[in-house]
């Protein structure tokens, strides 16, 4: 049984595997970009706070 047949119970039948895979890959990329940007900001704030407290 191929992946295409396996996922054919989802909406869009024989195209379900491709459509949901495309939307899934895109969602994953967008979420990674967003979380990475927020994480970098938090890490930068932490490292700068650490640096300033060391220099005091």
């Amino acid at each position: 049984m191929s992946m295409v047949d396996y996922f054919s119970f989802l909406p869009y039948g024989k195209y379900a595997f491709y459509v949901w895979l495309a939307y899934g890959v895109s969602a994953l990329t967008i979420i990674t970009l967003f979380l990475n940007a927020r994480r970098n900001h938090a890490l930068t704030l932490q490292s700068l706070a650490h640096k300033y407290s060391r220099n005091k």
């Binding site: 909406p11 195209y15 491709y18 459509v19 895979l21 890959v25 895109s26 990329t29 967008i30």
Partner: protein, 245 residues
């Protein structure tokens, strides 16, 4: 308005503007993205030739357009940084690169996934696909060059030159389906593009959501970059002290 734009050359004002704009980009993005998804996956009818497989168009086309648009913004901002020595333009160029690379990855991946059921192959060395892959390599080269220097000004100068030279690839990507006999279909937007009004609305909504996503990510990344570059300024010390309380 012009005064406000001029003020953005100051790192402090630019940082404050980014901070203020984040919620204005975030919530409209969420709203447009949700409505766009509903229009793309539920309201839009199936295509008469490609059935439901064509629904990949609603993420593939906006991300492909954004991949080129972000590159153009990156090169123009880099050029402004080179000519007028505006540091905030360098910041915009630098933070745009990973976002543009992300859109290019989405465009290439969704294109490959769409290609398999329609062409019978994940990848073909077609002019449109190859030039889009070159765009990804240009983004990667820009990011590598930018991180190769310790001094951010030197890094910005060299990487901006690369970005400007790479602009030549954009018309090649756009006109590749016209100039060469490609397996890739013609333009999806404009003359010869999609005709159904629901499909057009879905594509427009997803395109606007992508623009807002780019603006949102630039705002988040730019404020981080400004903090790093201006870490010896008094206002950054005060800002960090205020935020870390």
């Amino acid at each position: 308005m012009w005064k406000w734009i001029q003020k953005q050359a100051s790192p402090k004002f630019f940082y404050q503007t980014c901070n203020r704009l984040i919620p204005w980009f975030f919530w409209p993005f969420i709203a447009l993205f949700m409505v766009g998804l509903y229009w793309s996956l539920v309201i839009s009818p199936a295509d008469y030739q490609q059935g439901d497989g064509y629904r990949i168009i609603f993420i593939h086309v906006p991300s492909a357009i954004l991949s080129m648009m972000v590159y153009a913004i990156m090169a123009i901002a880099g050029g402004i940084g080179l000519i007028w020595q505006i540091k905030m333009a360098e910041v915009v160029a630098k933070v745009s690169a990973p976002i543009g690379a992300g859109f290019t990855v989405i465009a290439l991946a969704t294109g490959a996934i769409w290609g398999k059921p329609m062409w019978g192959a994940w990848w073909v060395w077609d002019a449109r696909l190859t030039s889009e892959l070159i765009l990804l390599f240009l983004y990667l080269a820009y990011m590598s060059l930018n991180s190769a220097f310790d001094n951010p000004r030197t890094a910005a100068k060299s990487s901006s030159i690369l970005a400007i030279v790479g602009l030549i690839n954009l018309p090649i990507i756009h006109y590749s389906v016209k100039w060469w006999n490609t397996l890739h279909q013609g333009y999806s937007v404009g003359t010869g593009g999609i005709k159904d009004s629901d499909m057009q609305i879905a594509l427009a909504l997803m395109f606007l959501a992508s623009i807002l996503l780019y603006a949102l990510l630039v705002s988040i990344k730019a404020r981080t970059e400004v903090l790093v570059r201006e870490q010896n300024s008094r206002w950054v010390k005060e800002e960090v002290g205020r935020l870390m309380v």
